[in-house]
Subunit: 337 residues, 2 copies
Amino acid sequence: MNIKGLAQALGLSIGTVSRALNDKPDVSEATRKRVLDAAVKLGYSANASGRSLRRGRTQTVAVVLETGQADVRAGDAFFMRIIDAMQDTLAAHGYDLIILPSNSSGDPTAFLKRIMARGMADAIVITATLADDPRLKLLMSGHVPFLSFGRTQTTRDYAWVDLDFEGFLWRAMQALADLGHRDIAITVPPNNSNIAVILRETYEACCAQLGLPHDPDLVQVAEHSEFGGAAVVRSLLARPHPPTALVLNYEMMAFGAYSALRDAGLAPGRDLSLITLRRSRQLRFLEPVVAACDIDVEGLGRTLATETLRVIHAQHPSAAIRWPTPLTLTSSVGPPR
Amino acid sequence: MNIKGLAQALGLSIGTVSRALNDKPDVSEATRKRVLDAAVKLGYSANASGRSLRRGRTQTVAVVLETGQADVRAGDAFFMRIIDAMQDTLAAHGYDLIILPSNSSGDPTAFLKRIMARGMADAIVITATLADDPRLKLLMSGHVPFLSFGRTQTTRDYAWVDLDFEGFLWRAMQALADLGHRDIAITVPPNNSNIAVILRETYEACCAQLGLPHDPDLVQVAEHSEFGGAAVVRSLLARPHPPTALVLNYEMMAFGAYSALRDAGLAPGRDLSLITLRRSRQLRFLEPVVAACDIDVEGLGRTLATETLRVIHAQHPSAAIRWPTPLTLTSSVGPPR
DNA sequence: CTGTTAGCGCTTTCAC
DNA sequence: GTGAAAGCGCTAACAG
């Protein structure tokens, strides 16, 4: 069923039908109602290609997910919850949300280039940003509005929303220092993720500010998984003078960390204070409850959606939002032994 | 840059350029090369709307993911790995893959109806099928080729690919019975998922075949999470005569089950034999290693892709594929106490 | 208030 | 081997 068929069924011209469907003025209320009813009854929805071609826009927001990235495969599917919330807001503004999986075997930049050139979306949201991310240069040189969920080091003048990693690490380090910890280890992601850069810089600043020794060996590159958490804890415990606290950048590492501590006959909070970035549902399963940030995931999704709408409408100033990472301390944190 | 611009830049007509780009005959090799080179240099990709409108197809496969469903949020993002593999195969055949998140606050059937009517994809893959799923009726009454990842009870005459739940439960029950277990509990999903129906029926058949008592109380409805696994184990242990084995339908439940056993001072394999459906990377973290199926996830993704291509090309017979669930026994399974 | 028509970018006949 | 032109479904400008 296309608009021509609908018009014929109603004995109207396609122009009138189109205007009725699109809430344009100059259509009598009676006609509008008749058209809308018929559209529902006959199951008519405007063909996406025809409409997009004519309008020059798709009413679609594309979220590019790196399906090869560990982040995307995270615990309770952080991204799925974000997208669920984004979609709510976008739908309320007449936009569809599609996810474009950027295949692990392909080149992310070439993928993005193709999306942009083909005009598949009115705005693109990218994720899993790298410290030096060629996608940003590409996006900035093009004409497709975009939002970056995550920052990069190379450019600064674009709309982004990111977790407040700095605030998280500051609060964690401050709380630990207040309890008397001096040797505090942190984990950073293994790849060239921008998060690693942020955490390293913040760590250095924290140490300077709090008067702690800045031992580069306390910054541990860890695999983004339970295994990474376990490996880091084992490696730290093997030292002559292990640190007394550990801040994890990825929640699933906490499982590994707890497990490695238990294997060594040690207890979180008592023998090693542990803090992790994001509280996921699964984390609640750990005993004692691990100190973590209670991030408003739905709010984050809604914010990503409204900021996307802003870049579409070229509203200024563009986003530069660090999403709150409020830390809740628990008994996984205690004074140093 | 559109085809008109590209043609002008080359001093050719748009017709010739189009034919060159689409590998049509009646274009000289020299011209073809010139066009292809210019397209790359100028970053030209055919506008998706224009091409789809003219061709009447989008060269796109849409996977509808229920973002509200717990399944989608599973452990190591099972779905993301499947989609990653699907995309590889589809891309090799000139198709794009898009994910359409079906919002938790919307009506899945209405969502699907809209996608179908708008012609957003040449084929639709649905997931998270229910025992009685209205989406199937809708899809079968429409003209969009589709593949169901999961079965339903209501209709049988459509292309589907699903995990071999029956084979899994048979092998698990057989192995347990061989060891002397007679009271074997299983979990089933809490909603009206089709998996629950399959597991219940298979369980009954297994009990009859293996000469085991068929106690309905041994079929436990469990929440799709670690918490569900813990709750079931606690509930079973509280009985006067607890079962000696438990088969879980979702891998994350194993964490909860192990935890609840440990809390009770009991050990998996010794006090309660445990088998779970799918081995995920995270599971390897449990001690002892839990008995589970080593599913070829990438192969499953490739199969979903090739079956999707089959329905697009209306090749027969249509799929009815139970994807292998090869069970690996470990020391989480032992003789009954 | 409604009908007619041009044209979005592209592919595919049909001429030459 | 190439160019001209029609038309996919739709919206928007214009006529009436």
